[in-house]
Symmetry: C2
Subunit: 562 residues, 2 copies
């Protein structure tokens, strides 16, 4: 059974089981896991229903709902067990990294607007890789500076560097829920793309800190580290692309739809998961791999399957991602009340509050230190004012990346619970401070994000577009046509005059306006040619089989397959 699931309320469980003790078939640990699964499924259902009910409000979002429900459940269990249940639920990094994170990141890659993502590729990489490094340095050096004055137990250089890596990891899950892809496509792709690269960078950083020998630091360490980062980035991306292409090739060649859509859906799910697990097997970044696998699958594989498989995969990946997100927030919320950790800290509440506040301050400063300079640099390369990141957008980018989430939790647990369960004061303080920062940033910053975006970017000219796309009355057509629309934007005729083409599907012919724009569009043009001439004949893809150039909507997308 999942170790993290193991419900340690043995006293409670025995009381319950004595009520129904008519069978000896299930052992106590089995029965405990049944209780915990029941509780978790019921809580997830509560999160879905309550999240649906609070969706209308301006302040709340689904992640905060789940976090609060988790906290409340923790309180109820703590009261029921009379303060005895020290470990309500142990947060397990394994469950997080092996089961919960892959569907979220894969779905992000699968549903991301590829055009926007690749157009801003360099900016995203600067934010994600360079920005994370800057943030890491500031948080590490800052904590080293400030914590020495406080009584925080014994922390060595490795611990301070780990703190930098832990708090440099933004919560891409929370970002996904806060920003809207249709309303603010540029911001979404920047912040979310950064989040994925940032996750990968901080995990790599963290691994590097744990594996490097820090007793004799020399000048070669940063170089080796950067080489390591580049190696990981390219191999992980390559693995993701290869896995995605293999899935496209298999489905195209074997023509699975002839027999059953089940096989197609199962194959896509398994290949996506395999890409992540292979990356973990080879010590690469599974996050990057599964993200690029998702992009390749949505570009090739998704178009090779039958219509019902398309609808199914589209929604099932989104559903799994949604469930994993909800589960994570519920989990973090419930874990926060583990009394064992707080007991150590309770003797010095002032220190704990000081440490959390310092960390929060460093997180904000560290993020400000790269968002504004990198935005400034990026703006220098852009010619048209619409492509520039204005100051209001810079504030939103800065703000949306302030939240810390499950990645920080998982890394903190890994670093500070290795030698026993938070028996050292320093470790206990770092764990509780991480929880405090995660809870505070998610709840307080999260609650303020929607009003902030509304204040800084009042709904203006982009609103009519988003309304036609995501009219709340129609419900599903939005979600069905999204990837189609996505590709439509990416198709040759519409791609350069994006705003215009979105409204009536007619763009200017191609070369002229491409030259008027930036050279990155030239790259896109040659990629298109390569894609059409070499990739699509082998791996399939949208409309490769039955593509009608004049039509803006593909006939098979809304009807039954021919």
């Amino acid at each position: 059974m999942h170790t993290g699931f193991v419900w340690l309320m043995s006293s409670r469980a025995l009381q319950l089981s004595s009520l129904f003790a008519r069978s000896e078939m299930l052992s106590t640990s089995d029965y405990n896991s049944i209780i915990s699964i029941n509780l978790f499924v019921a809580l997830l259902l509560a999160c879905i229903v309550i999240g649906h009910l609070v969706e209308e409000t301006r302040w709340m979002n689904a992640s905060i709902t789940a976090l609060l429900i988790g906290l409340c459940t923790g309180v109820v269990i703590l009261l029921l067990s009379g303060g005895k249940s020290s470990h309500v639920l142990v947060f397990s990094e394994e469950i997080f990294f092996i089961y919960l994170l892959p569907p979220i990141i894969f779905n992000a890659g699968f549903q991301v607007k590829k055009k926007q993502f690749f157009r801003n590729f360099i900016t995203i990489m600067l934010f994600g890789a360079l920005g994370t490094l800057i943030s890491f340095c500031i948080i590490s050096l800052g904590s080293m500076q400030f914590f020495k004055k406080l009584d925080v137990g014994s922390l060595d250089v490795g611990d301070y560097l780990a703190i930098g890596a832990i708090f440099a990891a933004t919560d891409s899950v929370c970002t996904l829920l806060v920003l809207n892809q249709d309303e603010t496509p540029l911001l979404y792709s920047l912040v979310f793309g950064e989040g994925v690269v940032n996750d990968a960078t901080s995990v790599v950083l963290f691994k590097a800190i744990q594996s490097f020998d820090l007793t004799h630091i020399d000048a070669r360490i940063p170089l080796r580290f950067i080489a390591n980062l580049l190696y990981l980035f390219f191999t992980s991306t390559f693995l993701g692309i290869i896995t995605g292409l293999i899935s496209a090739y298999i489905i195209k060649r074997l023509y699975f739809g002839r027999h059953s859509t089940n096989r197609e859906v199962a194959l896509m799910m398994l290949m996506a998961y395999l890409s992540y697990m292979l990356a973990e097997l080879f010590y690469l970044s599974g996050i990057l791999t599964v993200f690029f696998c998702g992009i390749v699958m949505s570009h090739y594989t998704w178009h090779n399957v039958t219509e019902s498989s398309r609808v199914t995969t589209k929604h099932v990946f989104a559903t799994l991602s949604f469930l994993a997100e909800t589960f994570i927030f519920l989990y973090v919320g419930m874990d926060a009340l583990d009394i064992e950790k707080w007991r150590f800290v309770s003797s010095s509440p002032g220190t704990s509050v000081a440490v959390s506040s310092i960390l929060l301050g460093l997180v904000m400063a560290g993020r400000a230190a790269f968002v504004f300079p990198i935005s400034f640099l990026t703006n220098l390369t852009k010619k048209s004012p619409t492509e520039k990141i204005n100051f209001r957008k810079q504030i939103i980018i800065w703000w949306a990346g302030l939240m810390r989430g499950a990645v920080s939790m998982a890394l903190a647990y890994n670093q500070f619970t290795r030698a026993g369960h938070t028996q050292l004061l320093g470790n206990a303080i770092m764990i509780t401070s991480t929880i405090s920062v995660v809870l505070f940033s998610t709840v307080v910053f999260g609650l303020l994000t929607k009003p902030l975006i509304r204040f800084l970017l009042p709904p203006r000219k982009h609103f009519p577009v988003s309304r036609t796309l995501s009219s709340s009355d129609l419900g599903s057509p939005k979600s069905i046509t999204l990837p189609l629309l996505d590709n439509q934007q990416g198709s040759e005729s519409a791609f350069c005059c994006y705003e215009f083409a979105l409204h009536d599907g007619v763009g200017c012919p191609s070369r002229l306006c491409m030259l008027l724009n930036s050279p990155s569009h030239m790259v896109h043009y040659y990629w298109r040619k390569f894609d059409d001439n070499f990739m699509r004949p082998v791996f399939g893809g949208r409309g490769f089989v039955s593509f009608v150039p004049g039509s803006t909507t593909e006939p098979s997308a809304t009807n039954l397959p021919e």
Copy 2:
């Protein structure tokens, strides 16, 4: 981590990890679980692709493919580890009962042809409950008789009764793959319906044997047992129906589709799983509960959600069920080569073969002892010759239920590995004999089933119907329109003149031909009235909102939601 997943090839894993030992982040057990997940996902993919390729052949089916791939992998690992890896993989009943069985049984209830199922309800109950009891008695008494002459170690009365329960459990998973719902609807519903009730009965039997004090047997035990069985049957069914209705009510009232299909799909998945886990929590039969939950959900909930949710749930439940089935066969195949068990038995191969043969013989005799008498009794109550179960069909029913599968394995492990790992000769022999019977019946009987059905029931008059339903060229419309058609058969106008209505949608007006048929149709008629007047206004259901009586196909089923 899953205990069953824990890959006990530590030597092998360490060799691999030393190759890539660049990070200390993941502990050895984590890395081992990553290896095992990779292997399992890759094997599942192999099963899907190879299962697709052998689908055309007359002999093979997907379950045998998975079983053989599992066996081959076991052999390869055994050879690679030089015969050292005693536990290649430990079969875990927990994984089976908590994760793999629920999606299979739920999907069966969700996709079953309700009309056929309820029409043959009494026959199914006779086969499933009474038949399993007969089979249990014959196998228990027979093994008690025969095994005393063989040297099989110390087995007490409880063990013999457990053997009866273990081998009375038919493999409903395998049955699903062997028979075709469209080609032989009557046989499918009988054999599969029996399988579900049989699973429940044998698990209940097994639990009862383990909990009853068998030292002083008196006449009250059978009575208490039957009372227990009836209690479990009714409470489990009731719980399943209630959970299904709650899901229908929530989705109808809150109108989830307005916001997202993800929530609808997640809610259906979670409610289905919750029904199973609640039944396990209250020591009921999760199998029966989740089966009836599936039936209720396909009748009410499924019609309350948006079109894209309908397509998604339909295929995702089928996909999960398919994956769980494949996983089980792979699992059983790999587990079969656990050398530890065979080492004990290898000293007396004759005994082991004799025990397996006797058990196989008893399984066949036990099944024959109830299939033919009950069929005879059922035929006495039927008037029309088409409804009678002729001798050829009786042979197929007898044959299709001979396979033993994962339920038998799980129960055998539970009974015979309680005191240490098969250290007693009697326990070791029973475990290996169970594996032998499962492998032999699945592979040999499974391979012979398709040819047998073809021989006994050459494709005749029912073929045109099945061809219109399941034309292999169209692929997905079959799977999309199935539940619709299913309900169509059940609708008032078409229900009594089923064969006729299926072709042109016009039936005779209702009362007259209902009286010409059996009184069970009268029950159906009053159920319909009750359903339309009381249930549907509250819980929704097909066409309750926009039902056009004259139309045979519902408009919203193939188009986008209005």
